[in-house]
Every structure is written in structure tokens, then in C-alpha cells.
Amino acid sequence: MPFAQTTGHTRWTFADLAELLAKASPPRSGDALAGLAAQSLEEHAAARMALADLPLRALLDEPVVPYEADEVTRLICDGHDAGAFAPVASMTVGDFREFLLEPSTTGETLAALAPGLTPEMAAAVSKIMRNQDLIAVARKRRVVTRFRNTLGQAGVMSVRLQPNHPTDDPAGVTAAILDGLLYGCGDAVIGINPAGDSLAALGDLVRLVDEVIRRFEIPTQGCVLGHVSSTIELIERGAPVDLVFQSIAGTEGANASFGVNLALLREGRDAALSMKRGTVGDNVMYFETGQGSALSADAHHGVDQQTLEARAYAVARAFEPLLVNTVVGFIGPEYLFDGKQIIRAGLEDHFCGKLLGAPMGCDICHTNHAEADQDDLDSLLTLLAAAGVNFVMGVPGGDDVMLGYQSTSFHDALYAREVFGLRRAPEFEAWLARMALTGADGRLAQAAAGHPLLAAF
């Protein structure tokens, strides 16, 4: 169905919903690369006006990726809860933005609404929201998940401790884990990106993390970010796997490029559940996403990258994950060109994920070929901390020596805690106090060289 909008003496037309959404999307290099972006700023403004007048229901009735061709669309449509949608069913996208911003629309309202919302609705409304809107609405919505601790509560921000090493050297990985723990990080997960993808190497890392967690009785979980099929095989071989990881995207084709489909993800979740290793809950999946992956896989169906990213959260929420991480600047400048685009995308992803009910964290990062630097990461960290992000990364010195990109550091997490008074997951916070790593005020204590964590190594 075509759409039209008049601005002054110009009449703009948009052939279908996908074109309208793409041209209403804030400017970014990936949409330009795909040939989907608005050709002028006025066309972009006109598209936003037309989108604001669109009934929310139209986004349900006209899938942007065909139902027959895509299992993600089928997941979204077949899983839609009409009853939950009813309170907003008669609204336009513009009305919906205003409804979200009303103080009477609370976190409980949003939680009840989530099963009635599709990712296309979340993406559409985000395109007519300013950065402050994305923060103000997202901070109302807490998505709480549990495995060995409780993540996502109000006033809590957690950190994934990311102790990567260029050759998966056990001593090197362990040293970085200790550094992170001594800086009070690691409550979201101790999560390693392996350099090699051999089963033997993955199994060694799984056992290494498990040993650290058991030895010091740390109320957290471990994860080695290998392919879901490898992790299933590790579980079959008896490796002590806590969480099953997988990168996912918003179309069937893009998921295929990652070597996964929904059935394989279900198999992964079942395998993790069979381990029964969670002590306070059974959220066992860890997903990573990022705008641009569908275009990168040539599986975008003419849909803009931000809308497809929101569809990845619809995939994620179906598996009740512990953690969903948008790795916002990792993909490179051809998708998010500079600091401004990375910051906007991080806020959009966090908002859309939370609205849909995903426990959103963010790898606030950039590659060294993007037009961005540490000041941009500081800005996005500050904005996401204000927005109530569930977790961020903790990389030693912000420099990942395996993946070759820059993210947030253990120090950066301390900064955000200080500025916003944010606490750690309660079980982990108690452990830090017990280990005398934090003082009575919750701040980091000055750890001595003879601390038990260090004495063991």
C-alpha cells in the first residue's frame, strides 16, 4: 500500500511500508549503502510525518518481510497477543509516542503491553522519537532476569567481564578475569570470545571460567561465545556450560548466514536447561545482535537496518534470555559511520529491546576504522546509564586485544556507578563486600597484593 505526505508544495510518495520506515529512519550509512535512505532531509522529515499518521495496526497487517518467506515474520505474527495489544490498537504511531511518554504509562503498563507489540511497531515509534524520548521511556521499563544472580532491577547496572586473549591462553585469560573482579565487574557474566573455534579450545575455556566461579563461590555465570552448535556438542560431552550464546538477526536469511535457525536455538536452550546449573532462575541464553547484520548477509528484503534489528529482539525474547547485547559499533563505518550514528543506534536498540521485553545490554564500542573515539563511548555510556541499561561490557583498559576494537572498561563502569549511583546485582554486590573488594559505601576498596583472589595465582 502506498503512502503520501505533502510538505509545502511538494508531494512525497512512499511505495510501501518498508520504504516509509526506511526513509523515516534517522540517517545512517548502512541504509545509504542499501539504497534505502531518504534522498534529502526534507524527504526524511516528510516520511516521519507520514509515519506518525500511520495506524499502529497497519504495522501488524502488512509484514515488511513476507510471512511465507521468513520464519522470523511467522514467529512475530503467530505469537502476537491481540488482547495485550487492545489498549493501543486504535492509536496511530504518533499517538503511541505520546502515550509512552505519559507518566500514567508505567513500567507495569509497558510489561503488560509487550506481548501485543511487534518489533515493527517499536521501530516505527522510535523513528519519530528524539534521543531524550528513547531514554525517558526505556528507563521506566525494567526487564529482570535470573540465573545465579538477579539482573535488571531498578537502580542496578551490571557488567559483562570480557577477558579475551589473542590465543585463548589460560593464564592470560585468568589474569584479565582477576583484574575485572578486583574492579568489581562480572555480575552480568564472565564471557569470553574465543580466538579459536575448536571444540577442545572452547571446552578448556568453559572449564576455566567454571573453576574460577566455583573456587571463589562467585554468584555469577560463565559463557564462552562459540557457535550454538558447538556449545550443544560441548554439553553433550559433559562440559560445565552455564549459558548458551549465539549471534542472531532479524531475518531468516541473516540467521542462516550465522548458521542458525529458530529450531537450532530451541535445541540450544533445551540443552542448557538440561544442565540445571542456575540457582535463582533459568534464563539460560545469551544473544548478541547489531544493526547491519542482515544487509551484511544480503538478507535485508529492502527493510532498513534499525527495523530489522528490532526484529532480532523478537527472536531473542522468544527464548527468555538472561542477556541480550547490541554490539552497536562493532560492525563498522559502512553501517554506522561515526559517533553520532553509533550513539543514536545504541539508544534506539536499547529502547526497542526493552519495549519488546528483552533484557537489553549494550556493547558500547567502535572499531578503529570508524569516525569515533573514546569521547563518543563516554557519551553513549552516560546516556544508556540514564536510560537504565541492564549491562555494559568491561574490557581491560577498553582495548579488546583479541577482537581488535574498543569498548567500555572496568574503569568506565565505576564512573557510571559514581555519577548515577548505580549498584551491582544484589547477590554479586554482597559477594564483593564479603571479599572486602568494596567498602561500606559500596565503592571499590584498595585491594592489597595479598588479597585471597591474588594469593591463589
Binding site: 550465522f258 576504522h369 579488546d400
Partner: protein, 253 residues
């Protein structure tokens, strides 16, 4: 009074990661802020360093291999950074110039995002692979040196050469501590349209990561299995470390 490193600074000898840095309040000490700034500047510069095609080709020729020079459809660095699609395709002239040379393995040496990595590691890695190839009896096609290239360009080159498999040796995106890290992507039965799930990757070939010999050992294992099973990618798990990474088999004279 500069902020001291952390009491566990000794652990930093175990990893190139930036640990035990110390802190000023919650922030990094001044020396670390400045050191990070310098490393970022070097990484940014590495992205824009042009590949020395002549020097790389000469070192490959010295191994007794034929080297061919081609370029992708991305005309310059700025286009390359914004248009990955052009970096995955050969230029018209390059495509016309590639004649079939049926072989077991085609080698592609590509600048990617770090020419420094190619300058430092590519020829040494190919040299380390040669004894494995000789022992297995693999035929190696001409080594194609290509500029402004992305990984998937290997599919078009491998298909044009009619190679059974293609290995792309490519400069990885520069990290702060690692501006010169090389990666290898192996694809069985290369043809345009292969996805990343159909490739096996060996990454972090650099002075503080994998040595050229270790990388060649893994590549040889993966190639042997890829040719035997007729596939590459997620269905082929790298279990090369189950076999001791000893010295490569002696070359029969």
C-alpha cells in the same frame, strides 16, 4: 604524584590486555589515557596505509610461487570503507584478466583493513604452508594479491581459477595493541554467493598471537578435512589441536 599501577600489576606479564593499570578516583591514570590515545592514533593510521603490492609479490615469488596482482571494484580507501559490496567484487579489468588454473588451493593475499599485517605476516605464513602442501600433494594456484579487498572477494577469485578451495589471507581490523594482525578464511568450493557460515576462520596471526607456523598447521588441517568431507564452515569444527602441532612433515627431495 602520579597514580601508581595496581598491586597486581605483575599479572600484566601474562597478557597483552591492559590490566593492573591503577586508577585516579574511578578513572584511568593520566599516563594510561595518553598511552591509549597514542595507540588509537597508530591504529587509525594503519587503516590508511597502502599495501606495498610490489614488495609482497616479490616475497611470494621468492617462494617459487607465481603472484598475480588485481584490485577490487572499490577505487580508493574512502570508497572501500563505505562500500563493502565493492570490496567483495573484482574490478572489470581484474575479472577479465583471471584465467582458469585448476588447483586444490587458491591463495589470496588481501589488504583488508591492515596492510601492515600483510607486510608482516603473509609471506611467512605461505612459506610455512608449503611443506604441508608438498607432503599432502596439494596443487597451489597462483597467489592473487588484491587491494581494497574484503573476505568474500576470494569466492570470485577461487571460482574464476576453478580452485577446489580458497584461503584468503587478509589484514584484520586494527586493534589498539594489534595494528598488524592477519586472518585466514578458508572456503571449500568457492563461488560467488557463499556465506560467512561456509567459511572457517583462523585469526590473530601476529607477533603476540598465532605464529605463521601455527596458522599453517591449522590451515593444513582444515584444508585436508574440507577436501575430504567436501565442505567448510560451521559444519567443520577445527579440531587441529587434537593433533600435536609438531614440526611439519619433511619435504621429500
Amino acid at each position: 604524584m602520579a597514580a601508581p599501577p595496581d598491586p597486581w600489576r605483575r599479572l600484566a606479564a601474562l597478557t597483552p590486555a591492559r590490566i593492573g593499570l591503577g586508577r585516579a578516583g574511578t578513572a584511568l591514570p593520566t599516563r594510561e589515557v595518553l598511552a591509549l590515545g597514542l595507540a588509537h592514533a597508530r591504529a587509525r593510521d594503519a587503516v590508511h596505509l597502502p599495501l606495498d603490492v610490489a614488495a609482497v609479490s616479490a616475497r611470494i615469488a621468492a617462494l617459487g610461487l607465481e603472484a598475480a596482482q588485481v584490485e577490487s571494484a572499490a577505487a580508493d580507501r574512502s570508497t572501500y570503507l563505505r562500500r563493502p559490496d565493492l570490496g567483495r567484487r573484482l574490478s572489470h579489468a581484474a575479472r577479465a584478466g583471471l584465467a582458469p588454473v585448476p588447483c586444490d588451493l587458491a591463495l589470496v593475499v588481501a589488504d583488508g583493513l591492515s596492510s601492515a599485517a600483510v607486510h608482516a605476516q603473509a609471506a611467512a605464513t605461505i612459506a610455512a604452508l608449503m611443506p604441508h602442501a608438498a607432503a599432502a600433494g596439494w596443487s597451489i594456484g597462483p597467489v592473487v594479491v588484491v587491494t581494497q579487498a574484503r573476505v568474500a572477494l576470494g569466492d570470485e577469485i577461487g571460482e574464476a581459477l576453478r580452485a577446489r578451495a580458497v584461503a584468503v589471507l587478509i589484514g584484520e581490523r586494527p586493534g589498539l595493541s594489534t595494528p598488524d594482525s592477519l586472518g585466514i578464511y578458508l572456503t571449500h568450493a568457492p563461488r560467488v554467493g557463499r556465506t560467512d557460515a561456509e567459511r572457517n576462520c583462523i585469526s590473530n596471526i601476529q607477533p603476540r598471537g598465532l605464529s605463521p607456523e601455527q596458522a599453517a598447521h591449522r590451515l593444513a588441517w582444515l584444508l585436508r578435512e574440507a577436501l575430504r568431507r567436501g565442505l567448510s564452515g560451521v559444519a567443520l569444527k577445527d579440531e587441529s589441536d587434537l593433533i600435536a602441532a609438531t614440526a611439519p612433515p619433511p619435504v621429500l627431495s
